[in-house]
């Protein structure tokens, strides 16, 4: 009954046609999009591979803890460079897919898009570290900080080498440069830990004494390279 009256009223008193609607809509400012919303929006465009790899590292760490495998430490340390490589590849995806020019002309600058992606992937790496390091250290009975430093140094080393390579002409032409860097770093870890003998012992001693300082230095270097990448992203588009 009520809906009948509503229909009758609508028929008798129809709204007038809009006047100046288009002009009015054009004057409305676009809604504010917060920084967090923009970053979160970018998360949907980061490929599943990146998240899967991060999950794999955590999975290997947990599996190692459950099965009490000391080799899990080496496996996780060897996987970290690939996590870094995938992060670099994802950060440069716009350029690789030829989307840079289009993205430069959109509301959010290409720089902010690249920064958003790097922030997300960096946060993912940090979460991986915060979960995997204590879990692994429970198996190896080494300190969590020591374990974390052992994991983070290959990650930062790979990133600080891959970022300038990706900006170079070699990186622009070849898909697999970052993976190549990650593979070499992983190989070095494999070789030194299996055959290094005294070199490996020496490396662990250095990590024990200076590991945090080395990690912080690499972090600064990586941050500098990321800053350059972000700044040059529109130049290279």
């Amino acid at each position: 009954m009520a809906s009948d009256y509503k229909d009758l009223l609508n028929e008798a008193f129809s709204a007038p046609a809009p006047k100046g609607k288009d002009a009015f809509l054009k004057n409305i400012r676009p809604r504010e999009v917060s920084l967090f919303a923009m970053i979160w929006q970018q998360a949907a465009y980061i490929r599943v591979t990146a998240w899967l790899l991060a999950a794999l590292v955590v999975g290997v760490a947990i599996a190692g803890a459950v099965l009490k495998l000391e080799s899990a430490q080496n496996a996780v340390t060897m996987l970290m460079p690939f996590t870094a490589a995938v992060a670099v590849i994802e950060s440069n995806r716009s350029r690789r897919c030829g989307m840079s020019e289009l993205e430069t002309a959109t509301r959010f600058s290409l720089r902010s898009v690249v920064l958003a992606r790097m922030t997300l992937l960096g946060a993912a790496a940090l979460i991986v570290l915060l979960i995997a390091a204590p879990v692994i250290s429970a198996v190896t009975c080494e300190g969590a900080v020591f374990t974390a430093v052992r994991m983070v140094i290959p990650y930062l080393l790979t990133m600080s080498i891959s970022l300038p390579i990706e900006r170079s002409s070699l990186g622009r032409k070849t898909d697999l440069c970052s993976l190549a860097v990650a593979s070499v770093v992983a190989f070095v870890i494999y070789y030194v830990s299996n055959f290094g003998g005294a070199a490996f012992t020496g490396y662990l001693q250095v990590i024990g004494r200076w590991g945090v300082l080395i990690a912080l230095s690499l972090l600064a270097l990586t941050a500098a390279q990321q800053w350059k990448t972000i700044n040059k992203s529109e130049e290279l588009a």
Binding site: L67, K173, T174, L179, A180, V184, Y190, Y191, N194, G197
Partner: protein
């Protein structure tokens, strides 16, 4: 034939002109140099010279009784006077699985007996049948007593070959996985496929070019590493029994014979890596996935995550090229039983790798010949 030769040269050129290939070859060279130099930096030359003075001595009561008074810290502390016994102490410590065992409590006969029993226990742990154990016991019958020979040079080469294989794997994964996918990505596949020699012949020359690169790299790196090690340290210990390095090994091999087996494994593994990389990248049309699979398998092989009671899976894990080439493969007891005859992993692995390579090449050929240019 004329065209095959021309096409082959062009395919080689395409691979070698790729800057990533050049970078990986340079890295491989650097790895060989580091592998050659590293032992010299981490171990002292004097230790090697001292240990060589015991070359040819049988590890018997006479040698052990000579060594025991010289040991410090139960064989964990070494100085200029006792360093010559480091290798012999290492053999004894390797036999005694108990870290708290006092080396000087054991005579030679007791040591070898403990070794034999421990090996049989390990074989039972690994699920070997009584027939397999008997087979091994026949092999081991003439092994003891061991003759000590300093094996620094041979050991450096053996360990170095394992590192080289990883470089070959990386070259295959990073450089050869784009041999086919690059044509699709660069959109040159249309031009190639529309020509007389664009299907079977092109597939054949691409495979040949890839295999040439990896086999060439394997041989060149093996030769280079051997030359470096010989030049820097001498090729000591080729005739030393593998038990001097891996006391619990049941193989009746010298280090030289082991290195020959490693080289066969390396070349056949290289063929497998190349075939896998090229064929699977063509089937999946994705070079990144192939790189991920190959590197992932390598890392997985290091994990030792499969307990020995799952014999088949565990055995398959040890048959991965990265494990098969490692010096630790000398501790593998499991055998292949074919028609009542037993074969070790060193005999079977090249056969298996080549067989899988053939299957992959055929599968890749089917995929390539069926490929249709659609979309775009």
């Amino acid at each position: 034939m004329n065209n095959i030769g021309t096409l082959y040269k062009f395919e080689l050129k395409k691979i070698l002109k790729n800057r990533l290939t050049i970078a990986m070859l340079i890295i491989t060279l650097a790895v060989i140099i580091i592998e050659g130099l590293l032992p010299g930096l981490t171990t002292s030359r004097e230790a090697g010279v001292a240990q060589k003075t015991l070359d040819g001595r049988v590890i018997d009561d006479e040698l052990l009784n000579e060594m025991y008074p010289q040991l410090l810290g139960n064989g964990s502390e070494w100085n200029a006077d006792n360093i010559k016994y480091m290798g012999v102490a290492g053999v004894e410590a390797g036999i005694l699985s108990d870290d708290d065992a006092v080396l000087s409590d054991y005579g030679a006969a007791e040591l070898y007996e403990i070794r034999d029993e421990a090996i049989v226990d390990l074989m039972h742990r690994d699920g070997l049948t009584e027939d397999e154990i008997s087979w091994w016991q026949e092999q081991m019958a003439e092994q003891a007593p061991f003759t000590y020979v300093y094996n620094g040079g041979a050991l450096t080469l053996a360990q170095g070959l394992a590192g080289v294989l990883m470089c070959i794997m990386l070259i295959s994964a990073l450089c050869l996985s784009t041999v086919f996918t690059l044509e699709h990505r660069q959109r040159t596949d249309q031009l190639i496929l529309s020509n007389v020699n664009g299907r079977k012949e092109t597939y054949l020359v691409k495979m040949l070019a890839g295999l040439t690169i990896v086999i060439g790299c394997s041989v060149a790196t093996a030769v280079l590493l051997s030359a470096m090690v010989t030049g820097l340290y001498g090729m000591d210990g080729l005739n030393s029994a593998v038990q001097i390095e891996i006391p619990m090994s049941s193989y009746s091999l010298t280090m030289g014979q082991f290195i020959v087996r490693q080289m066969i494994v390396m070349i056949t593994s290289s063929i497998l890596f190349a075939a896998f990389s090229m064929a699977v990248s063509e089937i999946l049309k994705n070079s990144l996935a192939v790189t991920g699979i190959m590197v992932g398998l390598f890392i997985f092989g290091q994990l030792e995550v499969i307990p020995p009671q799952y014999r088949l899976l565990s055995h398959l894990n040890t048959m991965l090229p990265s494990n098969q080439i490692s010096i630790w493969s000398l501790s593998e007891y499991r055998l292949f039983n074919i028609g009542g005859h037993f074969f070790t992993g060193y005999v079977m692995s090249p056969v298996i790798y080549l067989a899988i390579s053939v299957v992959l090449v055929i599968a890749g050929a089917v995929s390539y010949n069926r490929f249709q240019v659609t979309g775009r």
